[in-house]
């Protein structure tokens, strides 16, 4: 009797563990999925104004090193790019800045940025943040705010 039932109980136990884990994961995801507004803590986690400026400086360095993305910036005023992008990241992360640059559509029109190159720039931004020791969750929070801008940027 015991030996016959043992596998069944085992099966039942591992089944319910899996179920609980699944339900738990889905539950966490459902509550966490709602878009969170930018909070000052993201701005702080990015290292405030200086931290953000350093990330953008490093991003420009990464761009200069990248044969695919560099050509886009051949004729650009990099000082302006540095100033405007830092300002933008400062603003969207909840910092005390107001973006004074041009709209995303205006800036990127006629560049014909494709999907792959957009993701390439995301990779470079991640590399820049890695270099500046920005924690993984903080990186994702910034990316989740920038990602919705993609439609204004690619294939224009």
């Amino acid at each position: 009797m015991m030996t016959r039932n043992a596998p069944a109980i085992q099966a039942y136990n591992s089944l319910s563990i899996l179920r609980v884990m699944l339900t738990g994961l889905i539950g966490i995801m459902l509550t966490a999925c709602a878009h969170q507004p930018a909070t000052p803590s993201l701005y702080d986690s990015l290292g405030q104004k200086t931290g953000i400026e350093n990330i953008v400086s490093r991003l420009i360095y990464e761009i200069g090193d990248d044969p695919t993305i560099r050509p886009y910036f051949e004729d650009s005023d990099l000082d302006r790019f540095h100033e405007k992008l830092s300002e933008q990241i400062c603003e969207v992360s909840g910092g005390p800045c107001t973006y004074s640059g041009d709209s995303m559509v205006d800036v990127h029109t006629r560049m014909n940025v494709n999907e792959a190159d957009f993701n390439r720039l995301v990779d470079l931004l991640i590399a820049a943040m890695d270099h500046q020791k920005i924690p993984h969750p903080t990186q994702n929070r910034l990316l989740s705010i920038l990602a919705p801008m993609r439609g204004d940027i690619i294939y224009r």
């Binding site: 596998p7 099966a11 966490i28 995801m29 792959a116 903080t138 929070r141």
Partner: protein, 280 residues
């Protein structure tokens, strides 16, 4: 046959100067599921296998082994991704019965089309529809267990998948939910349809995952199964997996799989290991 097709495809790409696929973010194509489609480990996702963006193509190959108490399933195959729109896949399955020392072989040709959305960038999930046509090499065992069709069967599925950036305490989270119409008994290894039921069943298949870093993912999957044969009950499948995706050329998945009762053998659990390589 498959190799010639791949060669032909490579020639075409070389001739037209099509770009090799590297244009997706790391990890976002997922891995390869047991039937050769891009997905999680045991269920297909809406993503296309390979890193091709909408301007690119990609070719990938995979090998998987699931070793449970009384059986061992070995699978290999390849997939072509055309412009992040169409996925054409092929998989060969070899199901080894440890007790009997015999094996069941099945080929699966898959086609998946992305209908809408983008896993990462759209508010709505990415949605795809797919078909898996399954062909048994030998009808002996399928016949013996009471399958209605012991030659071939076709599964149809619709699947929605979404990655939420920073969703769980800053960590990226993914969910995928598929509905599959199928007659396949144990993936089709025991034939299609049976003496108890010979009509299509609608089964749900789900994956959830959390990305611990750019390279590591942790998740769980659940796959409902039909139950067509009177000789033995077929049960739902589950797994808990960890995937390592170091770069856009290779990834590996290790899982604990619970495949329930299979053909009368009680509670089959064991280890799932899979590797996908991205060649183009």
């Amino acid at each position: 046959m498959c190799r010639t097709a791949v060669h032909f495809f490579l020639l075409c790409c070389a001739a037209t100067g099509v770009q090799a696929g590297e244009g997706k973010l790391l990890g976002t194509p997922g891995v390869t599921q047991l039937e050769g489609s891009g997905g999680g480990g045991i269920v297909p996702w809406a993503t296309m296998a390979g890193y091709a963006s909408r301007d690119e193509t990609a070719i990938s190959g995979f090998a998987t082994r699931v070793n449970v108490d009384d059986y061992r399933l070995s699978v290999w195959g390849a997939a072509i991704n055309l412009y992040d729109r169409v996925e054409v896949s092929f998989a060969h399955q070899n199901f080894y019965l440890k007790g009997a020392g015999s094996e069941i072989r099945q080929d699966i040709a898959g086609l998946k089309v992305r209908l809408s959305g983008d896993l990462v960038y759209t508010d709505w999930p990415q949605i795809s529809a797919g078909i898996q046509h399954k062909m048994l090499a030998d009808d002996t065992i399928a016949d013996a267990v009471g399958a209605k069709d012991s030659n071939h069967g076709t599964d149809l599925y619709v699947v929605a998948s979404k990655l939420h950036l920073g969703a769980i305490g800053g960590y990226n989270a993914l969910w995928s939910l598929a509905g599959r119409a199928t007659k396949a008994n144990q993936l089709g290894l025991l034939g299609y349809g049976g003496d108890d039921k010979d009509s299509y069943s609608l089964n749900l298949e789900a994956s959830v995952a959390v990305l611990l870093s750019r390279q590591w993912a942790l998740g769980a999957e659940y796959r409902q199964k039909p139950d067509n044969l009177s000789f033995a009950e077929e049960q739902d499948w589950m797994d808990l997996f960890v995937a390592y995706l170091p770069n856009k050329h290779i990834n590996a998945t290790l899982a604990y799989a619970d495949l329930g009762d299979i053909a009368g053998a009680d509670h089959q659990t064991g280890v799932y290991l899979s590797i996908t390589g991205y060649f183009w």
